[in-house]
Symmetry: C2
Subunit: 271 residues, 2 copies
């Protein structure tokens, strides 16, 4: 027999525990390599796969996938974050308030527990920089899917104040209500982007994404102590981040938020 | 942020095509590492996963798994090789005759085609040693699941003669009929194990497996030109193979059959 060149496939075996990200489309997702790397870092015999499920198949395929005995958790991405809530036996606090979930885990008793980690990734990214929202003042631009998750997650950290801005005033009001449901002592207001007196400025709107050269704040410089996070992943350095850097502000990128989120999801998946 | 050590997860991405082996239990299967290694050898962005499906869930889970859009093929192991036939839109010649399937692939038109490769792995192992069954004489011991698949696969190679032996005479007769259905010109007979005048001797019975020290032939030596294959994988060198080696016979092991089969299954999965 021809000797076969050594090919390392130690990452997959009969004993490997399965996790999967469910989306449509699926080719662009980064969770398979990123979450799997986090499993390896923690020396878990586990892998996260891409599962491409068509919208018309979601309701029949997901309950069956959840019966696969060596599959312990699911991540949900576009367009399934809202729809996936119906699959869970129990929704965590973030998922209930946001009305969406992006991770679900099977517990030892067989129950499926789901929660929303989009916002927790933002909080985790700040925490890794030594920044806590407790008692601080935050400006949040964008109250859509990502912004709502971020607002609710920050609210759980008990900041002193949050100002919200969205081009759709109604969405901002809905999020303000959710924040007050988490902690009614937070001073929430709605208004144009502000930075003076703020500790953190977060863009969760699509302004600055891809070829959009706009910056979501009408400023020529920012206060140097302000922590600035832009949730956008493409481009890596948005106009807002360039302005923040030029102003001497510490910055966080979409990628930092994603890393923070992956760490929190793998904690949630811990088995 | 703490720099993260480089962990290679290039084996999984959003674009990776999925294949899976379905069984119960699943921890012991070797296909995930072996088939995935064969994909890598062919530079395919694909992985084969273990899917642990319980018998009571098989009928509801499998049709759903087959709808996963980036899943292109399935391997079936114990106890699903017979049951899986019902899932296919089309059965290949080996699967139809054997009444079992161990690999199913989605074709570009969406149809699922299944066939049985347990026997083809044996033929492939011999072929890799430069041995063709065409016009030759073969002794096959064991006419159960593995033996039937091997008998049918050898029959497709048009040997001159096949002698069959099984402790259950009825099983041997059923296999003899299947062999005649493939090629009625093959001289098939049923009787005790013979080796004189044979070109190949194959053990597909459990005699010699694990702690069983027996040898399935009552011989103190074998003719040196005889090719001897033992389908047993544990132990690697059975009593029959030790006898064959001592007699100067070329030998093939269960592992060679498995390698041969994996190569044929990946050909079948080619996409």
């Amino acid at each position: 027999m021809t000797p076969q060149p050594p090919i390392d496939t130690s990452y997959i075996a009969g004993s490997t525990r399965l996790f999967a990200i469910v989306g449509h489309p699926i080719d662009q997702v980064r969770s398979p390599e990123m979450v799997t790397a986090e499993f390896k870092r923690r020396q878990k015999d586990a892998i996260l796969l891409p599962l491409h499920v068509l919208p018309e198949d979601f309701d029949s395929v997901l309950p069956a996938v959840m019966k696969v005995h060596n599959l312990d958790g699911l991540v949900f991405t576009v367009p399934y974050k809202v729809r996936a809530c119906a699959l869970a036996d129990e929704l965590g606090a973030q998922a209930r308030l946001v009305g969406a979930t992006n991770a679900m885990a099977r517990r030892p008793d067989g129950r499926w527990v789901a929660d929303m980690f989009d916002g927790l990734g933002c909080v985790e990214a700040f925490r890794r920089q030594g920044f806590s929202f407790a008692g601080r003042r935050a400006m949040l631009i964008g109250a859509g899917g990502a912004g709502s998750a971020i607002g609710v997650a920050i609210a759980h950290e008990h900041p002193a104040a949050i100002r919200l801005h969205d081009i759709d005033d109604g969405r901002a009001r809905v999020l303000a209500d959710k924040i007050r449901q988490v902690d009614k002592s937070i001073a929430v207001d709605i208004g144009p982007p502000a930075w003076d007196g703020m500790d953190a400025l977060i863009n969760a709107s699509p302004v600055g994404m891809l070829d959009d050269r706009r910056v979501p704040v009408a400023a020529s410089s920012l206060p140097p102590g302000l922590m600035v996070l832009d949730a956008i992943t493409k481009p890596e350095k948005t106009g807002l981040l360039a302005l923040a850097e030029a102003s001497g502000c510490p910055t966080l990128r979409g990628r930092d938020m994603m890393n923070g989120q992956i760490s929190r999801i793998v904690d949630f998946f811990a088995y």
